[in-house]
Amino acid sequence: MLDPLLLSRIQFAFVVAFHFLLPAFTIGLASYIAVLEGLHLATGRRVYLRISTFWIRIFAVSFGMGVVSGIVMPFQFGTNWSRYSDATANVVAPLMAYEGLTAFFLEAAFLGVLLFGRKLVPPWAHFAAALMVALGTLASTFWILVVNSWMQTPAGFEIVDGRFVPTDWLAVMFNPSFPYRFLHTVTGVYLTTAFTVIGVAAWFLRHGRYVEEAKVMIAMGVLLASVLVPAQALIGDAHGLNTLVHQPQKLAAIEGIWETRGGQPAVLFALPDDDAERNDAEIAIPKLGSLYLTHEWDGVVKGLKDFPRSERPPVPPVFFGFRAMVGMWAIMFGLTLWAWWLASRKRLFSTPAYLRASTWAIPVGYIAVTAGWITTEVGRQPYVVYGHLRTADAVTPTLTGPDVALSLAVYVAVYFVVFGAGLYYLVQLVQRGLPEELGGHALEPQQRAARPLSAATRRE
């Protein structure tokens, strides 16, 4: 009745999906804060400092949530996936340890200085701390995507007694899908941050608050999006072609194609049916699929029926996840075009419809990133290490259904409370807006220390 395997999969999907919402925002935000601090240091313009201070508070709350929900993740490997841990540790564990050594300590040590140390260290050291935090988040992204990519396209190992043993570390790290996945993910999370910043600034502008700062934020966000939105299309395409070579089942599920043939259509919408092995209610453009997958009108692409049922992922989550991701990209693309069109008429900051749409579009990045992960992770099934270790053979053998049902229920309850409260406080921080005027380094440290705590930390 209660299947520990299925429940463990749901539990992992749940805790990792919630966790990743935070890095999806904070990786980009850490870089943004470092840029703002650097601009302030270089130009002396206080507008950058005010923007940075506003986002640092929001960063503190989000990053804290990211840290505590992230610590859960490696322990999941031990608690629920002990056979995976035993089989893959020789390969994946050192990579995860490198993440801790190069990223987590860097982030943690310099985060304290970034949040609490502005008055205690010289301005350049505070900027350096911001830079180190940003560097830490990117290092963390690097290592964890090395691990994930190795599970998708394993390389550089041999199997001894049923366990993976590394033979070539460079081949392990720079496995076939890693460069694409890394670029694709970093671009995706930067875009998530950009559209969050634009949306918040648009809200300020619409309410006539912090007009100068909001304009700077929107301009910076739109500039970044103008580069990264088109770039993401190219990177995503290259990533897809890489998947076609290394994980053909996943690609067939993404495209929703069942038969192997030349001149494959591009399926825009369908209701894929795993049991009947066909699509219902299909809307497709003939031959276009082969064109973008093989760059030939009649190029042959393998369909799902070419693979035994036991080797196929469940199609609907992969199929719809991919379309949700691309749909979100289309919204970002449309908003960016709109922004340029308005800017060329000098109405970017004064068009309520655009500003309102930008605020409503804050979630698009988060949805795109989550949908993308669903596509790639479900698309790897039924394997946890693609082609070598099945998910069913990875679960902890001593777990019972009720054990996992209990832990899953507790995780769900706690995450709804904690993430719900976190979202509430983040919205509150946005509504409270920017600090009125900063003491910064203009005030002597003694003067600051003498101020009562309530004035310094609480604005009640």
Binding site: R57, A89, F105, A108, G112
Partner: protein, 333 residues
């Protein structure tokens, strides 16, 4: 190729010990939090650990993942056996961790996060104690898998170790506050440090009697000749440190109590190592049995030996930035 097992044993022992000491005093501050004399004291207590708790908690990640990397079999057996203590520890750490920022942001709901800070710290500490207790008691193993149930850890000894660790972290937290605060709050912390010390000593005495009774091998290790003579300095040093801690509290010293509390933890750690060596999954799997492939241990060791000194350097710098007594007003920005 040189044998890396002893080196990795040392690295993991150091990482886990760093975690216990550093997050130990953070969690201890959290456990003491609701008993503080007043509102302003609570703000100060939280401010004394706010800039560093994240770095301290990172040692847990390093300890856990380094165990996964260097002795993966131990990771794959121990963690499932303590499935629920790990769950409670993680959830406790979540509530404790978000409480810092949420409490700071909250207006009307602040007292909820005060509670989250306390309960999170308490539950995480107790759960860590249970993991330690289960580790001492040992694990049922079959082949390369844990063979017990997810509830085997529920037994008096394991739960008692959970309570013992709560006293231990209270001692660390209280002596940290003696170091970082002044005036009435410092005086209050001294009182709590005495409570913690009594609790810890009672617990050490209890475990020293109970463990050899439960496990003949541990009794053999300590009480056979000539081990008895060789190991007698361990309890003597523990007693001396406890005496030093008591005296330094009475004399109003500020750094010495914290240093002595660290020393007391170090002695307990040595005692534990003497009891269990060379097993990493007592009572059946040794460090060598559980070791990862040599090329994996080597690959990680190169980076670790290079990066750890750098980490200690900049972590030390971040401690130095926030040196001295914690005062009101050193909050955000």
């Amino acid at each position: 190729m040189i044998d890396l097992v002893p080196i990795w044993t040392l690295v993991i022992a150091v990482a886990v010990f760093m975690y216990v000491l550093l997050d130990g005093f953070d969690l201890g501050v959290g456990i003491l939090f609701p008993f503080a004399p007043d509102h302003a004291s609570r703000d100060l207590m939280m401010a004394s650990v706010a800039p560093i708790w994240d770095g301290n908690e990172t040692w847990l990640v390093l300890g856990g993942i380094a165990l996964f990397a260097a002795f993966p079999l131990a990771f794959a057996i121990i963690i499932p056996a303590v499935y629920f203590p790990i769950l409670f520890m993680l959830l406790g750490l979540i509530f404790r961790g978000v409480a810092f920022e949420f409490r700071h942001t909250a207006r009307t709901s602040r007292r909820h996060w005060d509670r989250a800070f306390f309960w999170g710290s308490l539950v995480a500490t107790f759960a860590q104690g249970c993991v330690l207790g289960k580790f001492v008691r040992g694990f049922a193993v079959q082949g390369r898998q844990y063979a017990g149930t997810s509830w085997d850890w529920v037994e008096p000894f394991v739960l008692a170790v959970g309570v013992g660790l709560v006293f231990g972290y209270v001692l660390l937290g209280a002596t940290w506050l003696v170091l970082k605060t002044e005036g009435p709050l410092q005086e209050w912390a001294r009182g709590k440090a005495r409570v913690g010390l009594f609790g810890v000593l009672a617990f050490i005495a209890m475990v020293s009697i109970w463990t050899p009774l439960l496990d003949p091998r541990i009794a053999e290790r300590w009480f056979s000749w000539p081990n008895l003579a060789l190991l007698v300095p361990v309890p003597l040093a523990t007693a001396a440190i406890a005496w030093w801690l008591w005296r330094s509290l009475a004399r109003g010293r500020e750094l010495a109590p914290f240093a002595a509390a660290l020393g007391l933890f170090a002695m307990c750690y040595v005692g534990l190592a003497i009891s269990l060596f060379p097993y990493v999954v007592p009572p059946s799997i040794t460090l060598r049995d559980a070791a990862a492939a040599p090329q994996s241990q080597a690959f990680l060791l190169i980076g670790t030996l290079f990066l750890l000194p750098i980490i200690l350097m900049y972590s030390g710098w971040s401690y130095w930035v926030f040196r001295g007594k914690v005062r009101a007003g050193h909050g955000y920005h």
